[in-house]
Symmetry: C2
Amino acid sequence: MQVTVPERFAHLVEHFPKLPILVQPSGRPWDDRMAKTTFFVPDYMSGRAGVANLAKMPALEVVQILSAGVDNVRDAIPNGVTLCNAKGVHDAATAEMAVTLTLASLRGLGRFRDLQREARWDNQSFSSLADRNVLVIGYGSIGAAIEQRLNGFEAQITRVARVGRVTPVVYGFDELDELIPKADIIILIVPLTQQTKGMVNEHFLERMHDGALLVNVARGAVVDTQALIRTLATGRIAAALDVTDPEPLPSTSPLWQMENCLITPHVGGDTDAFHRRAEQLLTRNIDRYTKGLPLLNVINGEY
Amino acid sequence: MQVTVPERFAHLVEHFPKLPILVQPSGRPWDDRMAKTTFFVPDYMSGRAGVANLAKMPALEVVQILSAGVDNVRDAIPNGVTLCNAKGVHDAATAEMAVTLTLASLRGLGRFRDLQREARWDNQSFSSLADRNVLVIGYGSIGAAIEQRLNGFEAQITRVARVGRVTPVVYGFDELDELIPKADIIILIVPLTQQTKGMVNEHFLERMHDGALLVNVARGAVVDTQALIRTLATGRIAAALDVTDPEPLPSTSPLWQMENCLITPHVGGDTDAFHRRAEQLLTRNIDRYTKGLPLLNVINGEY
């Protein structure tokens, strides 16, 4: 039994004095001591590189990643190895970013920041979140956390998930065609799967009404980037994106220069709120692992 | 009886078919028909100019302003004329702006907007609102609306008002010295009065802890601008300001260029949410006026 964790969680060692824990300094790609790893925690946001050496860990039993989405690591997990995600850890920070982008976009913060750079006091009237219809697409734990934050803003919230249900009312993907035209704001927080890849295509965007706002805090590839660029170029809708396809967004992408597009570089989950919550999850799951108990957040099939 | 309203509320005429309502086009300073006004509604954000001609209205009985703060019009109201403010009308939009500025400042939206202008994808970790202590100074209707919006964000909220009370727990101004050092975020939404003018002075700012954030959606003069500039120059705290002293903020003000200062040009209350709510207030108060009922939002003494 050997647990290998990234440097930022070095003090987990103190929680488990009897457990062999290898702390891997960030930026070091391979260390022969890692070969004995049975429970592996790739660094946060390390993507494909973080799981590049799993084949060199013959005793590997568990990979515990620190992101909620598993799309970019899933096919790198060897057969028989359990994959756990960080469901819940990023709820607070990512949901907060969804609301931040929504508010900043609606209330013209991008425009006002540009004016600030020119030292210009030029008040312009923008739209409120109050009285708006918000469609939250992806009603998992982050979707629920987004709803919790939106609750105080006098907006109407409609929930959508892969499969609809009645309590609380969640609509299914198959009802999107009717829901999209009614939404003033659409927030995307679905996992990236075969079903959701390119979900926001030309047809989806055409159904959004004039002046509507698309907020993506899911994965860039949930949106067809070329279709989004074409639609934004008409000025008909606006977008606020914490994720893009590809990432990093190339400096040549027209999205950067569009007045109706606000971009943050995939920082939704990366705040000080992450560290405390990630440490709680790691402590709980390593503890369960050492005791042979069922692990939390095991990824099985669709998620 | 003659009601004079700004052009943007022209369709109030339809609500009161039997009432003489004069619609005043914006930008026209004086129209002799205004002399008969008994119930006057200066245009929103018209400030001193909006109440410059009250002495030419000998029959004037009521001035209904469309802002919550009365500081800049109060001494222009003739003796015997009733002043009503727009308490409640701006709660949604202004509270929303308080949260928008808080989130945008914490989550680095200003920095990311600057990076967007350079087409640079450069992820940096910022602070979450989650887990923070927020001090809301000014617990009137907008203060309560701010709290309502903050409720979903996993932050701790402490309320302060002129006079403390127990249910719900609201601390008094006299307890600020002890509360300020504990706050990660301080949101100002007090009215501008003799007591609150310059309330945020050198002493107040010194008590804020390193890395704390000051958000002002009240009035610029609640903060001692020079003291704020000196404090921000140290980089010790950050600020997000929708109001400044003076307004407009001169292009020579160092605040514009400070990395730890986010500025919007007094647009907190000015959204489409305002129009619907202002129309409701005007309809109710004009109706009460025509029926001789007590008016809503009459300003008497401290407010």
